[in-house]
Symmetry: C2
Subunit: 199 residues, 2 copies
């Protein structure tokens, strides 16, 4: 039987990562998030920080693969492509190895052929700002306005990245099996029911 | 304590009505769907068929309320407004009377102030066509193409109706607490978990 694979797309500050981690715990299956970056870094000899920047913030202009190589023999672009290729390989290997929850990184699209259960987690801006405050590292005191700008910037990057590699609109419900609004939800209370449905 | 109110928006053929009915059964609370039309019909002296047509198919052009009365003293339009007003009253009364599940009819928007749990049910076209075939009345043999056209027509009507009265995009996930893709789901198996979460 095929492995049970759950992918999680999420708006920044929506608690998607917490939901993924708790879900993996409840189902007692593997959980992959930053582990993927570490693995890419090992395989490509790029630093984790660089890989993170490419995946989350897209410092370089995005060009379609078909024109990239011939017209833009640009080092940064080539590296970006390598990162995506390695990432796809790693995600496929992880999904083939065991049941798992994979957060972000176009995993829903990369694993399309094996039909993962695709969750998208979102929330209204107010509760995303509140969540960011609650989980801020000690000493970090961003204002609501600064947090809102950061949230919008990160999500813009995620949307661009997703749309570039998949050709689909990031967060469009037709690409997911379940879209969960965490605005008024205690994630810890939701997860056992979600796990029961998925197990 | 406020009543537990669950509203269900749904694409035609997605099984949203089945989900609503089963959820109400599982939670042992009231279920309102066509009952609303019957009640509107009683109060307005319009036939149920007429009310259904106004609510589902929108036979008349939609005009903003603000210009409607002064510039278009049109009987059909006035009737349409009466139907919506009566519908809003009835839905508010139902929500005030007891816990309930309400399917369609902008209930999520009409009850906005009392924060219902808002579900949207959707599915891909293939599985919606399959669901329509499965529940077709005996003797009805529409082709896939005909069903697809009907599905698109009904949903276009629902979207127009919703957007006219709420100013929001029908089916946009930000207006809902949970969006459920029923393409690969047996609704009967999903409902107990959903009920457990909501009870």
């Amino acid at each position: 039987m095929a492995n049970k694979i759950i992918t999680i797309g999420r708006q920044f500050g929506s608690g998607g990562r917490e939901l993924g981690r708790r879900l993996a715990e409840a189902l007692q299956i593997a959980y992959y998030d930053k582990e993927i970056l570490t693995e890419i870094s090992k395989r490509t000899q790029l630093t984790e920080e660089y890989v993170h920047n490419v995946v989350e913030h897209h410092p370089y202009p995005l060009l379609p693969i078909t024109v990239g190589h011939s017209l833009y023999p640009d080092m940064a672009f080539q590296l970006q492509q390598s990162v995506y290729t390695e990432q796809s390989n790693i995600i496929k290997e992880m999904a083939a190895a065991s049941d798992c929850v994979i957060v972000g990184r176009c995993a829903d699209y990369i694993l399309h052929d094996i039909h993962p259960f695709r969750i998208f987690v979102y929330a209204d801006m107010e509760s995303r700002i509140a969540r960011c405050h609650a989980r801020a590292p000690e000493g970090e005191h961003l204002s609501d306005k600064e947090l809102k700008q950061m949230i919008q910037k990160v999500d813009k990057g995620r949307a661009k990245y997703y749309e570039f590699y998949t050709g689909e609109k990031w967060g469009d419900k037709s690409s997911y099996d379940l879209c969960i609004n965490t605005s008024n939800v205690v994630i810890k209370e939701l997860v056992p029911h979600l796990a029961a449905f998925l197990s």
